[in-house]
């Protein structure tokens, strides 16, 4: 394995778990998040010589993984009806009551809002960067954040006004 391969492996080891947490917050499903993230890393591995020159290869992987996850979510919706007929769903990790509430609240908001909430509140990106990462106008991101936060607040007793306070 060359130096490029070693560099990629180092980047992969350092960023995998962090990105997996961000993805799983968006998908709500570990297997889906793992699949999307591994696909993104696979694409990154063959582009590594170019990606390494970027100021943040991790942002590139996250963006690709998010795109893969969004496509996967659309396919999953189409599969849901068929899977429902086949039997019980796979086991999910044990969650604390608080985490269960949050997971349910996240699932209740649209995917676009969930992406905005996760990128803003978990990753810590400002609105402008989220807009660039998702390829959306800043106004749209702000609206998604506000709606997402409001919806979460209704279910989790959060202050809805805090949504954009850390821009």
């Amino acid at each position: 394995m060359g130096v490029a391969g070693e560099e990629f492996d180092g980047f992969y080891a350092a960023s995998y778990r962090r990105l997996l947490k961000q993805l799983v917050a968006v998908t709500g499903d570990l297997a889906e998040a793992e699949d999307a993230l591994q696909e993104a890393y696979a694409r990154a591995s063959v582009r590594w010589p170019r990606l390494v020159a970027y100021d943040s290869p991790e942002a590139w992987v996250r963006r690709v993984a998010m795109n893969v996850a969004v496509s996967g979510a659309r396919r999953a919706r189409r599969r849901t009806v068929a899977l429902g007929r086949l039997g019980p769903q796979p086991a999910v990790p044990e969650l604390t009551p608080d985490a269960l509430d949050l997971a349910a609240a996240l699932r209740s908001i649209p995917l676009g809002q969930r992406q905005a909430v996760v990128l803003h509140h978990l990753v810590g990106l400002p609105v402008g960067e989220i807009a660039r990462e998702l390829g959306l106008p800043a106004g749209t991101v702000k609206a998604r954040l506000a709606r997402g936060r409001a919806a979460l607040a209704r279910r989790l007793a959060l202050d809805p006004e805090e949504a954009l306070s850390s821009e």
Partner: protein, 373 residues
């Protein structure tokens, strides 16, 4: 917000608690399989679209690209270097000088008369990012911004310091070193170029957002430095800044029209940019900053060198150097070489007295090429 952040953090910790990080080799294999699948799908689509004739033309062109129309020089020596990834090559004082690379604070001296490493010069710094020759000395910069001066007469480090005052107290990341216009030029931190007076060692920092030292060249009336590409804004792709040595400011930005340029060369033959992603080389008119010719080579053109009326372009994967006639912009042919550059440490080239020196990182060698007259 902090409450939501904390709760999201806890939730995701619990959700990924049982996750196993797959072996990176598995991920790389998956990437390669996907790439092969995409190529196969692309070819199938090409054939299905009834594009057989253009396809055959493309393949013929590709074959020409890979084999080279005709040999235009010969690799006359391959010198093995100690260490794993050498960085930077310079020619001066009748010798060739190569940096030891990350973690090896040495400079190797090669004697062109014997094609052998005749000295390994120990530096104070722990590594060497790049080397340059100028003002009668060999200069080596470390990845952390330490600058060493080597006296070619004694093969010893005779001065050691930092690229500028800031580098003495803060973490600095140096990515390239060049000599020209009587000064040393060091790209630092992806946002500046430091101009150093070799007599005093004093550095002047010039703001150059995105400056990437491995794509820096001095000549054709300026210091030309490629910009890092920003992941989020996509700015900087294929762009090269021109620093005016008279004003010590970025005087303009050139775009090659390609997604990313991997090599920059400047000389009497103009300014040349290599774009690995599009397989092209662009010729820039230094007076206007505009591309006046785009030459398709195929493969992955990376490093570029100019001199003696020719432009030499290294393909970082195909073990060959292309030669272009700088007067006509015609591809004259290629030279097969025995090494390649690991793409993340693009090969360096130096031209002098009609001899071309090309540094490879895999294996760690330097090739001596004698161009055909």
């Amino acid at each position: 917000v902090s409450d939501l952040r904390t709760r999201l953090d806890r939730l995701t910790d619990q959700l990924v608690a049982g996750a196993v990080v797959p072996d990176p080799a598995t991920i790389r294999r998956r990437g390669r399989r996907r790439q092969h699948r995409m190529v196969a799908l692309g070819l199938a689509a090409l054939l299905a679209a009834g594009a057989a004739v253009p396809g055959v033309l493309w393949l013929r062109d590709r074959q020409d690209t890979l084999s080279g129309p005709r040999p235009v020089g010969r690799e006359v020596a391959v010198i093995t270097l100690p260490g794993s990834v050498p960085q930077g090559v310079a020619v001066g004082a009748g010798s060739v000088w190569v940096g030891g690379g990350v973690g090896r604070g040495v400079v190797y001296r090669i004697d062109p008369a014997t094609n052998r490493v005749v000295a390994t010069i120990q530096l104070t710094s722990a590594g060497v990012e790049d080397v340059a020759f100028g003002a009668g000395a060999v200069w080596a910069v470390s990845p952390g911004g330490q600058l060493a001066r080597v006296d070619p007469a004694s093969n010893r480090q005779v001065a050691f310091g930092y690229v500028d005052e800031r580098a003495q107290t803060a973490n600095v990341s140096a990515t390239g070193l060049r000599f020209g216009f009587g000064s040393l030029w060091v790209a630092v931190d992806g946002r500046a170029v430091v101009r150093i007076n070799p007599a005093t060692g004093k550095g002047t920092r010039i703001a150059a957002p995105g400056a990437y030292g491995r794509t820096m060249a001095v000549g054709a009336g300026g210091v030309w430095v490629g910009k890092l590409r920003s992941t989020t804004t996509r700015e900087g792709a294929g762009a090269v800044m021109r620093i005016d040595p008279a004003s010590n400011r970025v005087a303009g930005t050139v775009t090659a029209g390609a997604p990313w340029c991997c090599g920059v060369a400047a000389g009497d033959e103009g300014v040349w940019l290599a774009a690995a992603t599009s397989g092209t080389v662009a010729r820039i008119d230094p007076a206007t900053g505009r591309a006046v010719a785009t030459i398709r080579l195929g493969g992955r053109p990376s490093a570029v060198g100019v001199g003696g009326g020719s432009v030499w372009v290294a393909d970082d994967q195909a073990r060959q150097l292309w030669r272009i006639d700088a007067r006509t912009n015609q591809v004259l042919g290629s030279v097969a070489i025995s090494g390649i550059g690991v793409p993340t440490t693009w090969p360096a080239m130096e031209l002098t007295d009609g001899t071309l020196w090309a540094l490879h990182t895999s294996p760690a060698t330097i090739s001596r090429i004698a161009p055909h007259r």
